[in-house]
């Protein structure tokens, strides 16, 4: 491990940071020790970067290739033999995986809402709604809680005999089986996810607002622009990069950080209605002992993420130009 080499050294360093300074330096000191010192200095940046790069390559990039490769081999008795696209065919035929893909579609449809909520709230905070100093800290708070904690808390709140139904009872609603009704369970879980993470996007939006030219905003107000007009013609174009960033990170968050909620709140049920690709992958690899099938699902998830990222960047940059 190169960490051991990163000890401080009191030897005088050769002068140059560039290759050009090397020749003269060596001639002046002459001795072989200086050459060794020089070599160690030239290697130094590589030694500093190596551990990080090594870990990332070996434990992130290489497994990606390994996984894609693995998805074309078989499980169980056919372990290690090439099976072509059999895993992918099986995936597409599996109703659970289809539900998972359908739920991804629902997430994409809900995405504008999940971006608009923190965007609007950040706008109001930026425009100094009364109490604006407090809100950033308060809204951000659930974002630091583990999905497991959030899920457990909402399990209590959403129980059939729980407090939310108790509240709704006098209003003539319910009792609703929030997590037990296949038609609504997915939306409830997404709602909880948005509750837990909108503070993250809010902070990102506020950081974007810090770069917005306040004079532009004041000019618009002086000209008598209404709030919706200001949002449409000043804030949205001014923050297009931030909005794009939040779109992509929110979608990636929905695809990769809802496992904890699903694990605690629904376990994929009722009737498999709350499956997402990440949950499917975990079930197939850990519970069903189908690692190759899970790898195929992983590859599909990766492709979905790439496509979503690229499409959103395309769409939003075009929208930005039209403005």
């Amino acid at each position: 491990m190169p960490i051991g080499n990163a000890q401080p050294s009191v030897r005088p360093a050769p002068a140059g940071r560039t290759d050009a300074a090397t020749g003269g330096d060596r001639r002046r000191t002459g001795a072989a020790r200086a050459a060794g010192r020089f070599r160690s200095e030239r290697l130094a940046p590589y030694v500093l970067v190596a551990p990080a790069v090594l870990i990332i390559v070996v434990l992130r990039l290489y497994p990606l290739l390994l996984g894609v490769n693995f998805s074309f081999t078989g499980d169980g008795a056919r372990d290690g033999t090439a099976v072509g696209v059999d895993n992918y065919r099986e995936l597409l035929a599996d109703p659970l995986f289809r539900t998972a893909l359908g739920n991804v579609g629902r997430l994409v449809l809900l995405l504008p809402v999940a971006v608009a909520i923190p965007g609007l709230l950040a706008t109001f905070i930026y425009l100094r709604v009364p109490g604006h100093r407090l809100y950033r800290g308060v809204y951000f708070f659930p974002a630091v809680l583990s999905p497991v904690i959030v899920g457990a808390i909402f399990n209590l709140l959403l129980a059939v005999d729980g407090p939310i139904n108790t509240l709704l009872g006098p209003a003539g609603v319910g009792p609703v089986d929030w997590l037990g009704d296949p038609d609504i369970a997915m939306f409830v879980v997404v709602g909880v996810h948005v509750w837990a993470t909108f503070g993250m996007s809010l902070v990102v939006f506020l950081a974007g607002f810090a770069t917005l030219d306040a004079a532009l905003l004041d000019a618009a107000r002086v000209d008598g622009a209404s709030l919706p007009q200001v949002i449409r013609h000043v804030i949205v174009p001014g923050l297009s990069r931030t909005i794009q960033f939040v779109f992509v990170t929110t979608m990636i968050g929905m695809l990769t950080s809802m496992f904890g909620l699903l694990f605690v709140m629904t376990s994929g049920g009722p009737e498999g209605s709350t499956y997402l690709p990440e949950y499917y992958i975990w079930i197939q690899q850990g519970q069903m002992n189908r690692p190759a099938l899970a790898s195929a699902a992983s590859t599909v998830l990766f492709v979905i993420m790439l496509v979503v990222g690229l499409v959103q960047i395309k769409l939003l940059s075009r929208a930005g130009r039209e403005n």
Partner: protein, 275 residues
């Protein structure tokens, strides 16, 4: 002064309601944890008549809880230390030293950002099993480090980029090797960034469920977040005790948030704007 016009109360009131909705669930849980089972069944909302710590004690002494806490503390602290060490070393070299291939190496690190754990879960579990690292502290630490290192390197690189190169040149003229510059200049100068990145990394590792679930299959190696989920089965009929377990698991994060709220939010903001 507010830049909003008189209609601002139309906005202010819903925002206040939302703020309450953001913190109420946790207050509710804390209140439930202080109640007796009977009180909870009779009235879910009523404030507890007094602070009652029995449920917390029951949850704390249930099977494995203290073990889970120790597991989490060991894994999270080692992961964060390693992340900060490797992240600052790489960040310093990538931002302040000109060398062949530095751009490619930086992009290589960034590429790691786009590979979520879910996508490499199966091969990674296999690699860990083949190297006998599965179900061990070092195994999970390595997985955490690999997961959060791209982010850490990225933030440290962009932070170090803002340090004027003259400082490094001066230190070199004083006879420091590159390692000396790293240890004597860059580490101390990097403290604010190391602090905020370190807090975020610690939160991410502490809150993780999936990686811990996959990499630590046996019960006594569980981290706290996975452990809490096992309380649910144990106390499914005893809501106050389960709520107490949840509260115990949330407490460290709550304390960190109360004291370091600004650093955490600023760290997230920095991650988004430095792109």
């Amino acid at each position: 002064m507010s830049r909003l016009r008189p209609g601002r109360w139309l906005i202010a009131v819903p925002m206040l309601v939302l703020a309450l909705a953001t913190i109420y669930p946790l207050l509710f849980t804390a209140n439930v944890a202080m109640k007796t089972r009977r009180d909870y069944i009779l009235d879910r909302f009523a404030l507890t008549d007094r602070l009652r710590w029995d449920n917390i004690e029951t949850a704390w002494s249930s099977v494995g809880m203290s073990r889970y806490v120790v597991n989490s503390l060991i894994v999270v602290s080692s992961s964060v230390l390693l992340l900060l060490l490797l992240g600052s070393m790489a960040g310093f070299a990538l931002s302040q030293v000109r060398f062949r291939g530095s751009r490619a190496l930086f992009l290589g690190c960034l590429a790691g950002l786009f590979v979520p754990f879910q996508v490499i879960m199966v091969p990674l579990a296999r690699i860990m099993a083949d190297t006998a690292l599965i179900d061990t502290y070092p195994g999970l630490v390595l997985v955490y480090v690999a997961q959060f290192l791209p982010f850490t390197v990225f933030l440290m690189t962009s932070y170090y980029r803002s340090i004027p190169p003259e400082i490094i040149d001066a230190a070199r003229i004083d006879g420091n090797s590159l390692y000396g510059v790293y240890r004597r200049i860059m580490l101390p100068l990097g403290t604010p960034a190391l602090l905020s990145v370190g807090i975020l990394d610690a939160l991410f590792c502490w809150n993780d469920v999936l990686m811990s679930l996959v990499m630590m299959p046996s019960a006594d190696q569980r981290t706290l977040m996975v452990g809490v989920t096992s309380l649910r089965g144990q106390y499914s009929a005893d809501v106050p005790t389960f709520a107490s377990g949840v509260l115990i698991a949330a407490l460290p994060v709550l304390l960190v948030y109360l004291f370091l709220q600004r650093q955490i939010a600023d760290g997230v903001a920095a991650g988004s704007t430095k792109g």
